[in-house]
Symmetry: C2
Subunit: 308 residues, 2 copies
């Protein structure tokens, strides 16, 4: 058990991320009251069945009125609408944050609506799975993962510090950076990998010479790794593509240039060039494992899981 | 324990695949004698320490002379040299097979050397991890995975049946197809994913605007999945690229076309097109899980491993 950090926390959106936050808040007793709000009646009902909060409402405006911390966990394309809806109902002094995968766009959508009486501290926990919805969340999702905060210049330092403590209570490490840099970093570490995964799975699905049954049967030879990312929430990822367009197009251009060069090496049989690239990339995986950001077990530990 | 299938099995190459086969043969007592051969003195010594066989030799020719089954598990570029070395020493009636990821090229390299007195049945077990060497192998690697055999027309049916039984004893399901089709299927399910993974990790490594430390810290947002494939054995993958060139270039061309189309949808903000693709790709993962070719656990079960 930890000390309570906020009297009331409002969770706007209760999918994978929102519901994982709810479970962690409950486990660690970080709030006196959790108010859960979502636009979907079915999802709100399910959140109630799962016991994710103390109060439930379809109205985001109603949800935020007593809240000291408001966490918006919706697809990034919906951020502006949520900000417009809650703006007039926010409690003075409240901290408003989000968990969106793009930061420039979320700030552009939300900041114009929010009153000066609240502290807007945009955030992005670097954690998740390919599943979505309130049933997909779990306590501990953020443990050992990074959370990036992108407070605009002049943001109240105490508000930033309180939000930082909140994420640390969930087991995260916290970094701060400006939103433009966040969007560039995430374009390469997250958005490009998802787009590439969606693309390769789409390519395989379209082939006439290789049947879908063959793709599935032999997927353990590499392909299946990509299908996990390509099973992520379509609405979330459509919005990411639309809302971090510039950085994504920049990374796609670099990726395609590099791929053209690699393709040329394959066409001309340049074994040394291939060997050099294939050797260099090994080092990055070692660093990721050393940094505690992936399991050291072969094949992500799949075989170990099989054998249980 | 199962019934012995072969008096003597020679394993030429004792890396991840060869040493996993050795462990399964020993566990299931499928052979009276295992002869282990590899070109590297250090690897041969290590294979001995691990107790992977009954006899050990640096000479592939020496290894095969009493063998009823010869399994060549070397990078595909080395297949021809192995065939040339063993050809004159093979026991009449022996079955010669391999485990290479390309089949057209392996057949072209090996078949001209092999005498008519032996049965050449090329094969490819669809299993592996990103690790390599004799220490990386383990019993059970092939369980539940497919093994593809590509016997040339006119191959002795009893020899094919015996090899099929061998792989089935290792827990595999066995398919037969012609080598050209194998090479096309594997280009999409295995070679393209590896090449794309190597490429994206290389792109990330080259960026000046995003530091390597950032790539590593935030890799749990997607990137880390690609680093596993990109940590695979460089020699093996150089050889695959050089020896399945035509099929790989064909798949790369399709992938790049599709990516250009996706890039255009991002540039022009075509949310419906993005949503459609991102929805379609979800179904393939479900099929892979239903087919028992991947774990149903979120995030490949990484969180479940963390919590042990």
């Amino acid at each position: 058990m930890m000390a309570q950090q906020f009297e009331t926390i409002a969770l706007i959106g209760i999918g994978l991320i929102g519901s994982s936050i709810a479970r962690d808040i409950l486990d660690r007793q970080l709030a006196g009251t959790i108010v859960v709000s979502t636009r979907s009646e079915a999802t709100l009902k399910r959140a109630g069945e799962l016991g994710l909060g103390h109060r439930y409402t379809l109205s985001a405006a109603e949800a935020v009125k007593d809240a000291d911390l408001v966490i918006v966990s919706v697809p990034v394309g919906a951020s502006g609408a949520v900000a417009a809806e809650i703006a007039a109902h926010l409690k003075p002094g409240a901290i408003v944050t989000d968990v969106g995968s793009t930061k420039g766009s979320v700030i552009a959508q939300m900041a114009p609506h929010l009153p000066d009486s609240v502290h807007f501290v945009p955030g992005h926990p670097i954690a998740g799975t390919e599943h979505s919805g309130p049933d997909a969340g779990f306590a501990g999702l953020f443990r050992g993962r990074w959370c990036i905060l992108t407070p605009p210049p002049g943001t109240d330092e105490e508000a930033v510090a309180r939000l930082r403590l909140f994420w640390e209570a969930l087991g995260s490490m916290v970094d701060e950076m400006d939103p433009e840099h966040h969007d560039m970093v995430l374009a390469i570490v997250s958005h490009l990998p998802h787009i590439i995964a969606y693309n390769i799975v789409g390519t395989a699905d379209d082939l006439a010479t290789v049947t879908e049954s063959e793709v599935i049967k032999y997927s353990a030879s590499g392909f299946r790794d990509f299908t996990r990312l390509a099973a992520s929430d379509p609405t979330m990822w459509r919005d990411v593509c639309l809302h971090n367009k510039d950085a994504i197009l920049e990374m796609l251009a670099r990726f395609s240039e590099d791929l053209a060069s690699l393709q040329r090496a394959i066409r001309w049989g340049d074994g040394d060039k291939l060997f050099d690239l294939f050797t260099r990339t090994r080092a990055i995986r070692r660093s990721i494992i050393q940094a505690g950001q992936d399991t050291a077990m072969p094949d992500f530990g799949r075989h170990a899981m099989d054998q249980k």
